[in-house]
Structure formats: C-alpha cells, structure tokens
Symmetry: C2
Subunit: 364 residues, 2 copies
C-alpha cells in the first residue's frame, strides 16, 4: 500500500465505514460531540441493508416510529444528520487499514481514496454488499471489458449486442434503461440488440416496470430469453474476445446467443471482506467489542451494529443506535483527552442547538 | 403488608413500573415476545419526564425522528404499543415489592392494587414524581382535609374560601377549573372565594390560560395575591381547623388571608422512593444491572432507563430503548425456559406481524 501521507489523503477526526442506518446515526452522535465524519460505503447510495434488502418493506420496531419502510428510515436519518454535513465516499470499499506511529490510522478505498483518520467506526453490518458473480468458466478475464455487474458507460453500449442477465428489479431496470436510451431520438448509445436472459419465465419486479418491459418485448426492441449460461464462445486473440454465450433453456434445448457485452444483475450479497484482515479480534466473524465503549481490540477503532458481538448482542437497528451513541462518547474522550465529555440534552443544551443549527427556545 | 394472594390481586407475566418513554417501549418489546404487561405510574397520565418536564419542548436525538416534543414522543409510543393493549394503573406508586417462595413477586401500589408478577421491570426514571410540598410549620396535620396537592372533589370546594398556591401552569389551570365550575349555572361547587397566591407578580403559563385568568381577575371572580405563606392561623379544636394563612408580600407587608382550603400546585419533583428499599443492589442511588440482560441483583427483576447504572451508561432515552429490548429478551428466556428465544424481525416474521396486528405482505 502506498503511503497515505500523500497530498490527496483526507485528514479527518472520524471515518465511518458503512452508511447503513447505524453508520448514519453514528454520524449524528459524532456530530453532537462536535466531531465531523467522513463516510465510506460499498453501495452507490446510503442505506445499507435498509436500501438493498428491504427498501419497500415495513419496519415496525424503530422506537416511536410506528411503521416505516427501509427507504423511509434512511431518508429520515439523512434528514436528521444533514446539519452535520457528512462527506460520503460511495461505491467503494475500505480495502486497507493500518495503524500509524502517531496513533492515527491510514485507510484506503478500492477507488484509491486515502484517509488519515484519528478514529474509525466500523458500521459494517453484514459486510460490504457485492454484486453476485456470474458463475461461468472463464468469465473472470472478461470482467471490466465485456462483462459488467452494473450498466457501463453508454459509449460502451453503442452498437453492441447486450445481454442482461437476471430476473429481479435490478435486471429489469437495466433493460429499461437500455431501451429508453435506444428510444431517444439521435441516441448514440443505441445497442444493436437488447436481450434479457433469466433462468425462469417469471420475473420479479415492480408492476409498472414489468408492464413497460412487456411493451418493449412486444415492439421487438427487447428480446426475452429463458435459460442459463453454460459457457462462453470467444475468439482466439489475447485477450480473447467474447462473441457469444451458450445457453440451456427450460426445455434442455441448447443454443448460442451472439453477445458482445454481458450485464449481470443478480443481486448483491454481503461480504465481510477486508475487515477480517485488519488484525481486530473476531468471534464467529463478528468484531469483538466492549459494551461500554464499543471499541474493538485496537484502541481508536470502534465498531457498531450487526458487525459486532458482545454479551447479550441482538442484531437490531435500535440496538445499533445505542451502540453508536456510546461509541461517540468514547471517541470524543479519546479525541479530546483534555476535555471532560459532558452528557448534554438536545432539549436544553445551547451548545447542541448550535451544532444542530436550531434556535434555543427563550425561557418563558 | 397483607398477603397479595387475595382475589383482587392481578396475576401477570410482567409488571412495568414507570410509564415514561422507556417503560412504554418496554411494553412494546415485551409484546413482541408475546408477553403482556401491566404498567404502574405515579403520575395520572403516561409519559413520565417527557410529559412532566418537557411536554412542549423539542427533542432532537430520537433516532429517525428529526424533532418532536416530549408529548409527541409519548403519543408516538402509545400508538406503537397499542396492539399490545397494556393495562395502565396510574396515579399510584408501587409501594411494596417482595419475592414469593414460588419465584414470583408480590407487589402493591399506594392505591391498594395488588399484583403477583412473574417478572418486574423497573423503568423508574429519576423516580416517582411527587408534588412539591408546601413548607409551612404545622401544615402536615391539615393535608387531606384542608390542604391538598391537587384539586379535591368539587363537593369539598363548595362555599369555601379556596387559596391556590403556585405560579405555573398547574396553579393557573387549577384556578381556571375552579372559576369555570363557579360560572356554571346552578353549580353546587362554587367556592365562596378563589384566590391565587404566588411569591412573584409574574406567572408562567400558556398565553391563552393567562388571558382567561386575567379576565377572571378583572371580573372579580378570582383574586390574585403576591406573597409567601409565613404561618397558619387555626382554631384550638382537635384536630385544629385551619382558618387563615399569614402572608408576607413583596413589600414586606404582612397580612392575613381567611382560608378554608389550600390547593398547593408547586410542581413535582422526583423521588426514588420505595425502590431504594427493595434490597436491590444500588450504586449512587442507581440500580446496578448487567449490560447483557438488564437484570438487577434479584433475578426476575429487570431495570432500564435513567434509574440504572452499568459501565458506560448514558441517561439518554435512546439508550433506554436498547436496554428495554435486551431486558425483554432476557425476561422471555426466564418466562419460557423450555423455549429458545429467537431473534425475529418485524419486517419478515409472520409471528411478529400477528402480534402487531398487521398483515404479512405476500411474496412478489
């Protein structure tokens, strides 16, 4: 790992790894302590499991919120933390973390962003969400050139025979985006052919999206195939060029689909990933923390939410909120060892009102 | 203490002491465990500190609730726990608690209600809110006959010279209630005279209430006096009869106010009270609990919220929510030792949906 001490490294008091609900509330509690946070998440948007796994499903056990969807919970938390203006670094994982001699930490993301952080908060949930991989022999060598796990830049799509693989919202949405781009007058991103391949005839997606897809299939703009990829056909060059996929259908009939570009939208699955390699004490792949400070075995590195274990731990969002709160108190004591960390109330503290950007009510 | 094993004793799985926000959320978490709760509180309404100390003041640190008043927080929690239909026993304190030989607990309130509870949850906050006492020599002997800490039954007020003491909402509201009762045609509760006594000329209450008071003072229905009670004038009988109070004004001028009945509305102050006498381990007047189960030194008696101490404890409502959650899991394990206590999610569990009275969404 190159030294993080380069001009581009971001020097910060707190780096929060994970922008799920607990990571977001960590930002809030750090904000109340006067500590600004940088936030890194593997997903392209904040929300973690709430967005990825149950965006539109109801949650009933957030205290004082009778019911909200995962998406609504994230929207509420984003509004709540807005006064603290966290900086988000999305679509990238923290791939490396190493302690420095000065007590701070060097961190680097998969996108090459470096940080020097005085404290680190791992709100990693069940791990970084990674696209589920297409399992076909020899596919790895094409990833990033002819195989993608999300829609590549439009320029790469123009004139290509594009095969979207998957049967849920993400796959349907990708096909609709391709079709919409093709439909635009004078579009330069028009693929030569758009095919959706799913192993079953049934797609699972939002009704409106399915209706639009149906219309595109009826008009011949989109082709829908039922089947699974058995193998790749490729040219002999170096690197080899992907030219087609061999598909086996429901009826065991095999066929070739001429293909220049595969976009696999098979959902995501969480991976604990690099976190397991940072030398922090683990127990059954959970980070071991103490229930008073939520600090890991490395002082200055805190951990909260589903990624941690301690006696009595329950993987509930509301427990993560508590954990993030105590972690913020402990971190504030570490960051400002010369100042007592006072418990102040948002109802009455002029200092907290100032941080929150709200008026302190006048005494009646 | 008489045996609680009388016909009127309520036999229950869980008794929650304290109807503040944490006590209310305790009911919710017990409900998710399938455990019904009885709730006792010293105040006449649920809400605890949220209602008594900051009903109309903003709270900013409830996760996912950008801002709400104390009253709104309580209303939200009451809606959330409604599916579990807790039974409230308000305006009474748990005055006695004793373990039974069968592992359950005998409890009795100041109103004489007895309980036999299999588990107890002390969500006692800063203690039971008690009316602040009027500090005047010899006043104790009149309490309940001529001195009250809230408005007595209308029959007691008829034809009396009533002195309301205090300068905030409760005192003003009491005077307005007396005035309204006097104004009703054919009222039998009309006092002979209504006087409000406050040590300063400035009253602190809601603007509308102050305006109505002003009108009653202008019409001569209510008299307003500035001063403090120095002593009581009373007859020689046994018990003696209170006849007047001696008052000293701002101007050091002393005077007598003929008085049959005093209603002191001086606010409330919390008292840990009987809880301290139940043999539970205390540390600086906080109940000692473990941070995994939130159980006190007596198995089966749990404690949560501001009344507890453990390493790292912060007196924040959101921490109490977490504590109540882990206490409910621990209690469920104790109440149903033969069944594993599973962590289920309100988003996905048909069992929790049934308990909450909501429909389980069909799979798409």
């Amino acid at each position: 790992m190159p030294s993080a001490d380069t001009p581009s490294a971001i020097d910060c008091d707190a780096l929060v790894i994970g922008a799920g609900p607990v990571g977001l509330f960590q930002v809030f509690q750090l904000g109340l302590q006067g500590v600004h946070a940088e936030v890194v998440d593997a997903l392209p948007v904040p929300g973690g499991q709430c967005i990825e796994l149950y965006a539109d499903k109801p949650i009933y056990d957030i205290p004082a919120v009778q019911v909200c969807t995962g998406r609504e919970l994230v929207e509420r938390l984003l509004r709540q933390i807005a006064p603290f203006a966290p900086r988000f670094h999305l679509g990238q994982e923290v791939s490396a973390l190493a302690p420095r001699d000065d007590g701070r930490f060097d961190l680097r993301t998969s996108a090459g962003q470096a940080f020097i952080a005085r404290s680190v908060f791992i709100a990693g949930g069940v791990g970084a969400f990674q696209p589920r991989q297409l399992k076909v022999d020899g596919i790895e060598r094409h990833v990033g050139r002819q195989v993608f796990y999300r829609l590549p830049a439009p320029a790469l799509l123009a004139g290509r025979q594009v095969l979207v693989v998957g049967g849920e919202d993400a796959a349907v949405d990708a096909v609709l985006q391709l079709a919409d781009a093709s439909d635009e007058p004078g579009s330069t991103a028009r693929p030569a052919r758009i095919t959706l391949l799913h192993r079953r005839a049934t797609l699972t997606a939002e009704a409106g999206a399915l209706a639009r897809l149906q219309a595109h299939v009826a008009s011949g703009l989109v082709h829908f195939e039922v089947g699974q990829i058995l193998g790749l056909a490729q040219s002999d060059g170096e690197p080899p060029l992907l030219t087609a996929v061999q598909v086996i259908g429901d009826d065991d009939h095999q066929r070739h689909l001429a293909t220049d570009l595969i976009v696999a939208c098979l959902g995501v699955s969480p991976k604990l990933g690099p976190i397991a390699t940072w030398g922090l004490a683990l127990e059954r792949r959970q980070l071991v923390v103490d229930a008073a400070h939520f600090e890991t075995s490395t002082p200055g590195i805190f951990a909260v939410g589903d990624v941690v274990t301690y006696p009595g731990k329950k993987k509930l969002i509301l427990c993560g909120f508590h954990e993030a709160t105590l972690a913020a108190f402990a971190a504030a004591a570490r960051l400002r060892p010369d100042q007592p960390v006072l418990l102040q109330y948002t109802t009455t503290s002029p200092r907290l009102h100032q941080l929150l950007g709200v008026a302190t009510p006048a005494k009646a």
